[in-house]
Symmetry: C2
Subunit: 299 residues, 2 copies
């Protein structure tokens, strides 16, 4: 039976697996764990890794919270229910080397009652420098896991990611996208809840091998101060997205979530330069040219 408890348990297992894999990958830093309880109900396991060989700052968080649904969220969801349950795993990894991409993953389950419940989530990649071959590899990984569950998932969720991970005020995508989905139910997918749950677990388990490959392809590249500065500017954009648009952050702030867990997505350092313009023909400009919706990375 697929119920809250089983979902939360399996998501915790996925958190464990990912943390173990990332510690091996990093080879230096270990996750520090914080077990916390939420005043309104539930709690979580926040795991942060900092100052590693690869990872400058990253978090792999699990939470399972419940309680009163705040008024603005009831309105946004268009529901009358007062109580909610939500569980999920959230990841953001900021590497120190600008040639290694930032990555984000989230898998979550949300429940108001027996009849109103859904799955959401996604994985998206934010390279400081877009490398086409890596982008194709990443999207193929996403397509492979999607195709196992429904033939429409990759195409639909890829478009969804393009639209969701979009920094409207900059008119640019956050990175090269990936997959994003929300409010998946049997009605919308033709799958059972159990099958959607399995999809979310499979997606979660695609994270580690995908990121490990991307890190290993780029970890030995040296970088200049100029490339580091560019990374810090791109991180500024990441901060802008997360604080202005990210629904998970908004939900967390509005439900009095644990602030340090929610804002683990922010980098150790981010910079802003007034009216920065990339040089024509530069690698930076090449990346900017690819930060748009609708790029077909599968071919």
């Amino acid at each position: 039976m697929m119920n809250r408890e089983r979902i939360a348990e399996e998501y915790q297992r996925i958190q464990d697996e990912i943390c173990a894999a990332l510690e091996v990958l990093d080879g230096k830093s270990k996750f520090q764990e914080e077990i916390w309880e939420r005043d309104g109900g539930g709690g979580g396991r926040t795991r942060i890794i900092q100052n590693g060989n690869i990872i400058e700052k990253g978090g792999v968080n699990f939470s399972a919270v419940h309680g009163q649904l705040p008024e603005p969220i009831k309105k946004a969801f268009g529901v009358e229910e007062d109580q909610f349950f939500a569980t999920g795993v959230s990841i953001v990894i900021h590497p120190s080397n600008p040639h290694i991409p930032i990555i984000h993953m989230n898998i979550r389950y949300f429940e108001l009652n027996e009849n109103i419940r859904w799955f959401g989530g996604g994985i998206d990649l934010t390279p400081h420098y877009v490398i086409e071959d890596d982008a194709r590899f990443f999207h193929k990984q996403m397509k492979t896991v999607c195709d196992k569950h429904a033939s429409t998932f990759y195409d639909d969720f890829k478009v969804w990611a393009d639209n969701y991970f979009f920094i409207k005020h900059r008119n640019e995508t956050r990175g090269i996208g990936g997959v994003f989905y929300d409010k998946l139910t049997p009605e919308k997918t033709g799958l059972t809840y159990e099958e959607i749950f399995n999809f979310s677990c499979d997606l979660g388990r695609t994270f580690a091998p995908t990121y490990i490959e991307l890190v290993n392809r780029n970890r030995n590249k040296s970088f200049s101060q100029e490339e580091k500065d560019w990374q810090l500017l791109r991180r500024g954009r990441y901060v802008e997205f997360n604080l202005v648009y990210d629904s998970g952050t908004k939900f967390g702030l509005e439900t009095n979530g644990r602030i340090e867990s929610i804002l683990m997505s922010l980098p150790a350092q981010a910079n802003w330069v007034y009216d920065f313009k990339a040089k024509e023909g530069s690698a930076e400009q090449h990346t900017l040219d690819l930060l748009k919706k609708g790029v077909n990375w599968i071919g």
Copy 2:
């Protein structure tokens, strides 16, 4: 006659005066100016100063824009009008020395039609390290200018600033507050539009002498790496406030304002450390203890 043109002209004059005063204060860097036009109507003069003796990054912006009022803002204002006019001066100064405070000022006029128009604005101070004597000086300056125009202004606008410049998710004020007001009309104040306009100009003209005094009190203090790091963390909070709560930023993003002008408020560099705790009895903890509403700085 107080009309759009005269207000915009006087606000430009205030921008000129402040830029001239800040250049003298800084002694090294000059403002770079960008004249821009807005697609929907109007434009502005963005002036940015960077890498100075005192100022690491700052902006003193004037704009006068008009056009179609976006749906979400119509809703938020509870009005039916389609057209708006808005003019104002906005300032944020990020100094390099952590012993010098960040400062923000805004004076603005907003008009929907002959009957629906108002003034808004404020000045607030964000010391990285709160120095009580400086905080008292700053608040007395605010009180002096308020008292010239209405006996209730300082008390009312001080409370308004405490509530407005509040980082809800951190449960702390952005700094030591100051004054904030919005939608001031003759009905609400007992003053004429002309008189409210004069108040806003006086407030604008209080900015330079106030900040110059605060800079001169602290500019020769040396600082350690630890103090610099603390400044970068506090700037992270400033970024959080501006991107999550600031109405001006929201308005700018929603009305397709010029992004580089709106986000000039962001610092050159900001840092985030997971779950940072200030040492008990430290200067950092002392500052945190004072970042709360309702502190009486006038006595």
